[in-house]
Symmetry: C5
Subunit: 89 residues, 5 copies
Amino acid sequence: MKLVKVIGSVTSTIKDDTLKGFKLLMVNTVGTDLRSTGDYYIAADTVGVGEGELALIVTGSTAKQTEATKGKNIDAAIVAKVDRINLEK
Amino acid sequence: MKLVKVIGSVTSTIKDDTLKGFKLLMVNTVGTDLRSTGDYYIAADTVGVGEGELALIVTGSTAKQTEATKGKNIDAAIVAKVDRINLEK
Amino acid sequence: MKLVKVIGSVTSTIKDDTLKGFKLLMVNTVGTDLRSTGDYYIAADTVGVGEGELALIVTGSTAKQTEATKGKNIDAAIVAKVDRINLEK
Amino acid sequence: MKLVKVIGSVTSTIKDDTLKGFKLLMVNTVGTDLRSTGDYYIAADTVGVGEGELALIVTGSTAKQTEATKGKNIDAAIVAKVDRINLEK
Amino acid sequence: MKLVKVIGSVTSTIKDDTLKGFKLLMVNTVGTDLRSTGDYYIAADTVGVGEGELALIVTGSTAKQTEATKGKNIDAAIVAKVDRINLEK
């Protein structure tokens, strides 16, 4: 999984039928300091996270194996909302 | 998915039979400022996007699961045209 | 596999059901000097490693094939604790 | 797919049996200016391209799905020779 | 495939059962000048290569399809020893 911050969303009218109904969030991978590490993904939200929140995404074929995304043409999905990061002292 | 901007296309005469009939678009991954983040893909267009437009691509095995790309030797496909990016204030 | 150092963990209450019960460790890919090479993963621990230790992760579909992770929506898993790195002289 | 330039080839005597018979080309990913973007692949040639030419590669499981590469332990294959790149003005 | 140089190995006592018996080599991706391009992998050796030698690795699901690695939780495997790199003049 990758730790990401939700930074926005995208709106799309013309799209693959299987993408309909998903909230497509724009997320940024972040490191321990919660700053961007430079990678962006558009991920289908399967758990309900808000903008500015931290989350975990799965990518590739794993993104098509949640209850919500089975059989959908999705390769990035949010699977957890992150409450806290605990760093080694 | 990755947010991309369509920047051109490629023409190919000698190619795998399963690639025939697809428009092969050259796309650039972009960040929130819509500037290139440095990655290029050649993606099969499955929804009809024009040059200069924003789109979403899927990569890997997901790219072979749209109606149009099933059984094709394709690992990058455009699955949505992006109308608007909504960024967190 | 990727050589990583365990640098922390994440806590998540709202998450995909199949992620429940896993310790989700934050890891950093490292090179021969054991310094970060810049990539972070959140990996499900399947062997029991502690913070600050070196480990191996598998990613993608392989991460779903250990005894512990079969059928889970996991795309990064720790599969070995590393005792020693032996470098060519 | 990735746009690449063929820059050479590798010779290997000791190798996995399924790799025998393939021309293993060394390729460089390129951007719109046809300069290297820094990634190298060794790709099995399935269409017949020469050194210095532009081509498209597929990677991952897709590389094992052409007529020539089915059942082979290959994760990068050349699937098209590129005649022309058409860039947005 | 990726061109790599074998730079060492890792020793691990506590690990996934399916990893037992494999020599786990630390490898560095290299470019045409044989210098590191910055990526490290820990790869299961399936052909017998020594430290300092050049080799080809496959990654992802392909790494689980050699005779030696079928059914193993491995996502990077050495599949060829490279004798010579032939570069375009």
